[in-house]
């Protein structure tokens, strides 16, 4: 099931070892689905030359003020990151 654009979501906050493409600074943070980018093989499998099924990849938008606990120049600026579905916790549907 594809999560609709505009949906508020939260990124899972886990820190297991291994090759992970989800940057640490967005883990546990809340963002908004900007769009689905389609399905791709999982780098967490590919990195070890293991076969992978397809996972939905999303572009997720975060406000700077959500990401950093220090002072930021422009808190309303946004950062977009590409995040696989298995790192996303659906949070609440804003649409």
């Amino acid at each position: 099931m594809t999560i609709a654009a505009g949906t508020s979501i939260k990124i899972k906050k886990t820190s297991q070892p291994g090759h992970i493409r989800t940057p640490y600074y967005i883990r546990g943070k809340t963002g908004v689905i900007e769009r689905s980018l389609g399905e791709f093989k999982n780098p967490e499998q590919l990195a070890y030359s293991l076969p992978s099924s397809l996972y939905e990849l999303y572009r997720v938008r975060f406000k700077m003020s959500e990401l950093w606990d220090r002072d930021i120049e422009n808190p309303n600026d946004t950062v977009e990151a590409e995040v696989f579905a298995h790192w996303i916790e659906e949070y609440n549907n804003a649409t």
Binding site: S15, P17, I20, P43, A47, S49, W68
Partner: protein, 115 residues
């Protein structure tokens, strides 16, 4: 550099302070271009993907990031993946390195292109 948080891998540097971004351009040596080409070739032949390259780079640890240049780290990671993929054995690699070293001290002589 900022303190890493618990569970944050050394390479996962997003948000750390590194000062000004250097803006000057630089040329690449011929061997560096060849390392780059080797990754393209290895991927095209299906030996491994850029994900495998990144995994090996990350597993090298922070000291490699400080002590090796960018393409030194790349060739090390490419080698790791090619051995894992069974493209050549460690024994074959060792024999080849001896053979190449015997060709001479300069890059040109090692290539066999220097008289």
């Amino acid at each position: 550099m900022n303190e890493r948080k618990p569970g944050q891998s050394w390479h996962d540097m997003g948000g750390s302070s590194f000062g000004e971004v250097p803006k000057e351009d630089h040329d690449f040596a011929i061997w560096e271009k060849r390392v780059d080409a080797l990754l393209v070739l290895s991927s095209a032949k299906g030996h491994f993907t850029v994900d495998g390259l990144r995994r090996a780079l990350e597993d090298m640890g922070e000291s490699a990031f400080e002590n090796m240049t960018y393409y030194e780290r790349w060739i090390s990671a490419i080698n790791q993946n090619l051995i894992e993929a069974g493209v050549y054995t460690i024994q074959e690699l060792g024999d080849k390195m001896v053979e190449v070293k015997q060709r001479g001290q300069t890059y040109g002589s090692a290539q066999g292109s220097e008289v």
